[in-house]
């Protein structure tokens, strides 16, 4: 579904991604783990088009994604739930969710999407008219994920959904992501610093270090890897 080949991104002189190749097959749950500054968010931004790569290719369902303007990429079925949630603070919860359905195809299914989002996160149904900027961190994350789902995506990209949340909320969020993946057969690309949780749920995992793919494998391979256990899994 997503084929990234030798993708490089530079910020001025700094090389944030160095010839990274990543594959995501339809229906897969792919996790990308790695330390701060590894380039995980940069990779997501390159896929969404908010940073321009200095080399390499991105193919999505057989078409050259880099030729598609950033604002037209969501309509192809790519939803990006960004780092730090980035809800629209001065808009209500409902308006935030509806922004996810901005593309016409998603707008046509908005009513049904909203039902599914409320089923997944019932608390949001009670907070429909509250300004998203006044929600708690966990609630904002639910809005961010719900907003992504309102796009009726085929590929859901989540950038550190656990960041800054209490353990119980993190568990709930990971549960929901699993649920979305299984029940709707949605392809998931998850970036996480919580390597253990992320690798447990995934079919395929990548370890990104200082802009390079340091390791690839299925979840058993990675979870059992000695070096990985020491540096990321705290075992």
């Amino acid at each position: 579904m997503l084929r990234i080949r030798e993708l490089s991104v530079h910020y001025g002189g700094l090389c944030a991604l160095d010839k990274v190749s990543i594959d995501v097959e339809a229906g897969q749950f792919v996790a990308i783990v790695g330390p701060n500054g590894a380039g995980k968010t940069t990779l997501f931004k390159a896929i969404s088009g908010t940073v321009g790569p200095s080399g390499g290719t991105i193919e999505y369902k057989g078409r050259d994604l880099l030729a598609v303007p950033p604002h037209q990429r969501p309509a192809l079925g790519i939803a990006h739930v960004p780092e730090h949630r980035q809800v629209f603070p001065s808009m209500t919860v409902l308006e935030n969710l509806q922004m996810g359905a901005y593309a016409p195809a998603a707008a046509a299914q908005w009513k049904r999407s909203l039902e599914l989002i409320y089923e997944l996160f019932p608390i949001l149904a009670e907070r429909g008219t509250q300004l998203a900027g006044t929600l708690s961190g966990g609630q904002q994350q639910m809005v961010a994920i719900g907003r992504g789902l309102a796009n009726v995506p085929e590929l859901l990209m989540l950038d550190e959904p656990s960041m800054g949340l209490a353990p119980a909320v993190v568990d709930m969020i990971f549960d929901r992501i699993q649920q979305i993946h299984k029940e709707r057969e949605l392809t998931i690309l998850l970036v996480e610093q919580r390597a253990a949780e992320a690798l447990e749920s995934c079919d395929l995992g990548y370890v990104l270090e200082t802009g390079r793919v340091a390791m690839v494998g299925d979840n058993q391979q990675l979870l059992n890897d000695k070096r990985l256990q020491q540096s990321y899994l705290g075992l």
Partner: protein, 311 residues
């Protein structure tokens, strides 16, 4: 007896202030849309208003609008100046403003603020001097018989031209607010204002959203100018006074809030008229700033500032 006269004067100033305030409120809404959506520092807004006044003047005297008659004609002309200035704003954004705003300047010194300041001051100068060449320096006004007719409510005289302008201004402000609140484009504009990067992830073309916001803001302020033009004489330099009024109104209402800009503008109109009760006419703008400073002192967020946000 003395006090009775003062009360009558006060009631008159209050009424005139509210009527004038309607057009002020609308022009502040125009600036508020632009500032709220793009955070662009725009000192040419008063000159866009001036263009709206001249567009209204020439439309009102044209054969085309003439068919609406002496009474409805000027108001129709003011409304028609909107689409014309919308197109002007579109062109201006496409050719110039977009080069100093949006994503591409986020990394520039001062977030592009300096470039915006110089550019819009420059555009303002060109419009003022161009206006001088094209329109001449003689003050003119849009003539309508309504300017010389009043309705009497008790002792208070309501100038008919001002009442028409007031009603039109409130109507347009309400429509603009409905558009921004409930339409898909309006939601896109607000999302792009809140967080342009996240808006892109939703599928919003942020540059286009900014272009729409800028053009709409120019058009709304131009219509406000056109409505004002039947009760206020103007020349190509009138924008300088009004850009100050507009910024005061927008800041007063709370930067970034459209409803705030509306109430801020109305307040400015009121203050300006009420000040004539106590102070010579020349001190009108000084009073505006005095009140402005007082309000900012007590409500630094503006009267309608946004709710505090968690980050």
């Amino acid at each position: 007896m003395e006090f009775g006269i003062f009360l009558e004067d006060a009631a008159q100033a209050l009424a005139t202030g509210i009527l004038v305030g309607g057009a002020y409120a609308l022009m502040c809404v125009g600036l508020g849309i632009i500032f709220g959506s793009m955070r662009v520092i725009n000192f040419a807004q008063g000159d866009f208003m001036m263009l709206g006044m001249y567009a209204t003047y020439y439309l009102a005297t044209s054969a085309l609008v003439g068919v609406f008659g002496l009474y409805a004609g000027p108001a129709v002309a003011a409304l028609l100046s909107g689409p014309i200035l919308f197109a002007f704003g579109w062109l201006l954004h496409k050719t110039m403003i977009s080069r100093v705003t949006g994503a591409r300047v986020a990394d520039m010194d001062g977030g592009g603020g300096y470039a915006q300041l110089i550019l819009t001051l420059g555009i303002g100068l060109v419009l003022q001097n161009g206006g001088l060449i094209l329109f001449g320096s003689t003050p003119i006004a849009v003539l309508t018989p309504l300017s010389r007719q009043s309705w009497e409510v008790g002792t208070v005289l309501l100038n008919q031209a001002r009442v028409v302008a007031f009603v039109a201004a409130i109507g347009i402000a309400a429509l603009v607010n409905l558009f921004l609140t409930y339409s898909r484009i309006g939601r896109g504009l607000r999302a792009a204002a809140d967080n342009p990067v996240a808006a892109t992830y939703m599928g919003v073309d942020v540059t286009k959203a900014h272009r729409i916001a800028f053009s709409l803001g120019v058009a709304v302020t131009a219509v406000a100018g056109g409505l004002l033009a039947s009760s206020q004489s103007f020349q190509p330099y009138i924008g300088i006074d009004f850009v100050i009024v507009m910024y005061a109104g927008v800041v007063l209402g709370g930067l970034g809030s459209i409803m705030g800009a509306f109430w801020g503008g109305l307040t400015i109109g009121l203050v300006q008229q009420l000040s004539t009760l106590f102070l010579p006419y020349q001190l009108q703008n000084t009073t505006i700033f005095l009140v402005f400073l007082l309000i900012i002192f007590f409500w630094p967020q503006g009267m309608f500032g946004r709710v505090s946000e968690r980050t």
